[in-house]
Symmetry: C2
Subunit: 192 residues, 2 copies
């Protein structure tokens, strides 16, 4: 039995996929260990409790999102930032039919640890805050067009993306692109 070179990473990678397709309570250490050819207890060595694993996963999502947002903010115009966001949502779904982390955890909100819930909240806020800021900026410089409060629009968009990924899994077709396309048509009505 050759040992895994980077067990922790491999465990998190599997857990991540399982989380995004079956939810937090929808997978077990067994699912992970059997896929990696190791034993259950090996996972407990790296993540003593499932809550520890979940916490690590959500923090990972946060970090990744933070980096993507930081990059977008510094390097892209408003429209390119929004395009990249829509594109990422569609691609993530296309790759493996995955849910967004927040959507995948909503049914588990009652059972997860406070710290996990907190990180999830941060993750959601990260996206909404960035969207709000970007939409506002775009409206000011004429890049995008929409009515009402920028934060309301941001919440509307992020909720729709989350829901679209779920609906897409149900009827086996990528509605993410379709919903994104609808938003783009509305936001970009007047060519910049």
């Amino acid at each position: 039995m050759p040992r895994l070179s980077n067990a922790k990473e491999q465990i998190m990678d599997r857990a991540r996929r399982l989380l995004q397709s079956h939810g937090f309570e929808g997978f077990s250490y067994r699912d992970i260990s059997s896929q990696l050819g190791i034993k259950n207890a090996a996972i407990h060595y790296h993540f003593p409790t499932k809550s520890d694993l979940g916490q690590a996963l959500v923090e990972d999502f946060c970090e990744e999102t933070r980096q993507q947002i930081a990059f977008a903010r510094e390097n892209l115009t408003v429209r390119k930032q929004l395009d990249a966001y829509f594109e990422r949502m569609a691609q993530e779904f296309d790759r493996d039919n995955s849910l967004c982390p927040v959507g995948a955890m909503t049914t588990s909100l009652g059972t997860i640890s406070d710290s996990m819930r907190n990180s999830l909240n941060q993750l959601s806020a990260l996206v909404v805050d960035w969207l709000t800021e970007t939409l506002e900026k775009g409206r000011n410089n004429g890049d995008v067009e929409f009515s009402g409060d920028a934060r309301s629009k941001a919440i509307q968009i992020s909720a729709a993306m989350q829901g679209a990924r779920q609906l897409s899994r149900l009827n086996c077709s990528n509605q993410v692109e379709r919903v994104a396309g609808q938003f783009k048509e509305e936001l970009y009505k007047e060519p910049s």
Copy 2:
């Protein structure tokens, strides 16, 4: 021990609440039986397998939705129909922080029976079809305003409502009304 007068209904009522707050795999027969003061096996008498219970629940949702749509179609103007839909989403959430059935089941799609999945699909299609038809009708008679394909708009709206209920549970505030308000502002821009 006084027997329950209408056990089947009471079981379904409890199951429905549990489903919409914890997901299909997030509750057990034990949760229901303890709440009703009966034994686990009593539920198995009415619903031999959990799949039978789930099936009954989803079909119930379908029936209820069909009736609401039929009533709306026959008695309400386009704007009143949409208002009623938005209102219902917000109220359902306000009442008990519940998820919409489709949203509550997305993480279980891999494990539920084909017939359940099928009914869920029907439920989702019911709403989207009605929304599509209503939006199209409204655009033709000037009640509502939006750009692009009516079905895309319908999917966008229903996905956003589903997502909004989930986000609302996460950050403990009713974002459903907010998102609905944003849609209304956009759809009703020109007073009819």
